[in-house]
């Protein structure tokens, strides 16, 4: 029996205690202390958080292996303190069948760094025309519980209503990429004076807000849950706030980049800052931070979107949408939310682990750091400076010029140490 004792940790920013792990689960430290076989890690001054769960990750495999693979993305996730990620369906081919989601899930298990939870496509081929077989994906080995056409919006109201009904019967959730396609044709950046001056096609806030408003009402009408991906505007926040007050089962995520970066970066015309939804005004950034603090926004999800260098080494309109996120998310949360006093470390556990696990129906996260639970653990140094990302195959890191605090020091996934002293542990690829 392998036993690890980590000493001197502040538990979620509160009391200082030791944590013990044996055979993949948390155990009472008093039971193993003094045992000669136990490996001891001194973590004085560090903070224990439950392993992070990302509800929104692009792992690019199959079809985009030059940008990321399930294995490389899993490694990036571990470095970011994650123990579970939800792999979005917009791969080539699209993850819209039980076979494909099972394949992605198996690649995740073979890599062994995190629990790779495949997200199933809502519509066949993400084409927005016919529903994919949600039931067969839900009943497959990975038991898919999150469905999304992310990258595209399910814009047909009839289709969306049926998807919500089906998901509801499967205890699953539809994660909507809220973007009215007709209002965003050719859109490059946030609509407004800056876009007008830069001569770049605008992506208006109303294209997001109107879809969210429609979808919360649709969810209410069929009694389904709905999750809003990467909410990006102050107006969207108002809509979600209203829906929650009305008792609608809506949850919402914000990305790290929308908590920190603003549209002003687009003045450089560097496609590194091209993302969908686009970077918004500083007013939006501040409103989103408040939205997390007040609980209108439930979680932080990365929308980690690796791209090969040629997809960004071009003019802005020709560049691909998306930026890396897994390895910097914690530092961005520390820098934008915890350091300014908007949320506590305790809340970080909620917005990056417990709640995303709940939304995605990932088991093992409901009682963080408790004896008997799977040992998904992230040990962080809240004051440490964040290192540059190095786990991903891609380098489209939008934080290269930002000062970020908050460092992931150790990560344990089901008791297996995947990151030690901020360095990746090399794990053997497992064959099933």
């Amino acid at each position: 029996m392998t036993t690890t004792v980590i000493t001197g940790l502040s538990l979620m920013g509160g009391e200082v205690a030791d944590i013990a792990i044996a055979d993949g689960v948390f155990v009472e430290p008093s039971g193993v202390k003094g045992s000669a076989k136990a490996r001891v890690i001194d973590a004085s001054g560090l903070v224990a958080l439950p392993g992070f769960v990302d509800l929104h990750t692009h792992l690019r495999q199959p079809g985009g292996e030059q940008a990321e693979t399930v294995r490389s993305g899993s490694r990036a996730a571990a470095l970011g303190g994650y123990t579970a990620v939800h792999a979005m369906a917009n791969t080539l081919p699209v993850a819209d069948t039980a076979e494909l989601v099972t394949q992605v899930w198996q690649w995740g298990r073979a890599a062994g760094y995190v629990d790779v939870r495949p997200v199933g496509a809502v519509t066949k081929g993400l084409a927005g025309e016919a529903l994919a077989s949600l039931g067969s994906m839900a009943r497959s080995l990975p038991k898919v519980r999150v469905f999304s056409d992310d990258g595209k919006c399910v814009h047909d109201s009839g289709l969306m209503k049926r998807a919500l009904e089906q998901a509801s019967s499967l205890d699953a959730v539809i994660a909507q990429h809220a973007q009215d396609p007709r209002l965003t044709e050719g859109a490059q950046m946030n609509d407004g004076p800056l876009a007008a001056m830069l001569g770049l096609e605008g992506w208006p806030a109303v294209a997001e807000e109107s879809i969210i408003a429609r979808d919360v009402l649709l969810a209410e009408s069929v009694g389904a849950r709905i999750h809003i991906c990467h909410l990006s505007t102050a107006g969207s926040l108002e809509v979600v706030k209203w829906a929650k007050k009305r008792g609608i089962a809506v949850t919402a995520e914000v990305t790290p980049h929308h908590l920190l970066l603003t549209e002003d970066l687009v003045s450089s015309f560097d496609p590194l800052y091209k993302v969908n939804p686009p970077l918004r005004r500083s007013e939006d950034v501040l409103a989103l931070r408040d939205g997390v603090a007040s609980g209108v926004i439930d979680i932080v999800a990365t929308d980690h979107a690796p791209h090969p260098s040629e997809a960004k080494d071009c003019s802005f309109p020709e560049g691909a949408f998306g930026m890396l996120g897994l390895e910097s998310a914690f530092a961005v949360v520390m820098t934008t939310l915890v350091k300014p006093g908007l949320v506590s470390l305790d809340a970080v556990a909620r917005i990056m682990s417990t709640t995303p696990a709940q939304i995605g129906r990932v088991s093992g996260y409901s009682a963080p750091l408790s004896a008997g639970q799977p040992a998904h653990l992230t040990v962080v140094d809240p004051a440490g400076s964040a290192g540059a990302p190095h786990g991903s195959l891609s380098s489209n890191n939008p934080y290269r010029d930002q000062e970020l605090v908050g460092r992931v020091v150790h990560t344990f996934y089901s008791g297996v140490q995947t990151v030690t002293d901020s360095q990746l542990v090399e794990l053997e690829e497992k064959s099933e």
């Binding site: 407004g192 004076p193 876009a195 007008a196 001569g199 015309f269 560097d270 071009c314 003019s315």
Partner: protein
């Protein structure tokens, strides 16, 4: 000045200096041998990813009058249609010896990317990028306005003048560069056009906005600049019905007659006679359209001279 990418890059003094240098260079055209040795041994490449005749020829004439060598890279039939990127194309022309790259590209920001991405070392001059900017056009427009409307031109800016820019503002890089530069030079700007051709977000620009050309003409602007409708950039349903457009936004003879006596009529070309401007007006004595073209060569000589290092 290493590059000229945007009118935003120019201070008032930069812009006035460029206009003054251009004024000096304009005399060269009248010499028996219209040539200076200033850029001998320097290679300028026209890197054009979009159709253009007048801008390309104007840069070519400017470079030749300064004794620079000129190469032209045309998009048609080139490797770009085979999928070559902006980066590879620029590096290729630099490897052939380009010292100054004059770039026109269909993407907003393309010139910025060439200048700041580290792909090439050459000096970059923006000759029009998407719907973003066309700074040398704004400079030659300012040179023309100053020549016609400012009595002691040398060293002066355009303080106190009122310029109306009329037409398809949303898709016009000429309008953007002019709004910026005219403000830098102290002029007051009103943009006029149908609401669907005024960009959303214009409230952040330092301009007055109107959709009523007649009332703007009643304000007696000193210069009125007519723009072409960029049909190729407009999405289907926003295409203004041409009858309506002519009725409301064309500079007809009647409207031109209501302008102040000293007011000048401008157009960056190419013109659609009978659409945004009546033929009679384009050919009238207040039209400075050919002065703009003439000033374009001298102004581009000044820009080439400045990016190559000014007085060395």
């Amino acid at each position: 000045m290493k590059h000229l990418l945007s009118a935003q890059d120019l201070t008032r003094d930069d812009a006035v200096r460029l206009l003054d240098v251009a004024q000096d260079f304009s005399d060269v055209a009248n010499r028996s041998v219209p040539k200076l040795p200033t850029l001998r041994g320097v290679t300028m490449v026209n890197l054009f990813f979009e159709d253009s005749t007048r801008t390309r020829l104007s840069f070519e004439a400017a470079a030749k009058r300064l004794s620079a060598d000129v190469m032209t890279f045309q998009v048609q039939g080139s490797s770009v249609s085979k999928g070559e990127s902006l980066k590879d194309t620029a590096q290729t022309v630099e490897a052939m010896g380009a010292d100054i790259i004059v770039v026109r590209h269909f993407s907003s920001g393309a010139a910025h990317r060439l200048a700041h991405s580290g792909w090439v070392e050459a000096a970059i001059i923006n000759a029009g990028d998407g719907t973003h900017e066309h700074p040398t056009q704004a400079l030659l427009d300012a040179a023309t306005i100053r020549e016609r409307l400012v009595s002691k031109a040398r060293g002066s800016d355009l303080s106190g003048l009122h310029v109306a820019i009329v037409g398809d503002i949303a898709h016009s890089r000429v309008a953007r560069s002019n709004v910026v530069l005219l403000n830098t030079l102290g002029a007051r700007v009103t943009v006029v056009g149908p609401p669907e051709l005024i960009p959303s977000g214009i409230e952040g620009w330092p301009v007055a906005t109107s959709s009523d050309l007649d009332s703007v003409i009643d304000e007696s602007p000193d210069a009125i600049m007519m723009l072409r409708i960029q049909k190729e950039r407009i999405k289907g349903e926003f295409q203004p019905a041409s009858g309506n457009y002519v009725r409301n936004y064309s500079l007809t003879k009647d409207r031109a007659n209501r302008l102040a006596e000293h007011a000048i009529v401008m157009h960056p070309g190419p013109m659609n006679r009978g659409v945004e401007i009546a033929s009679d007006v384009a050919d009238s004595s207040r039209s400075v359209i050919l002065d703009q073209v003439r000033n374009g060569v001298a102004l581009r000589m000044a820009v080439l001279f400045e990016v190559w290092g000014g007085e060395k």
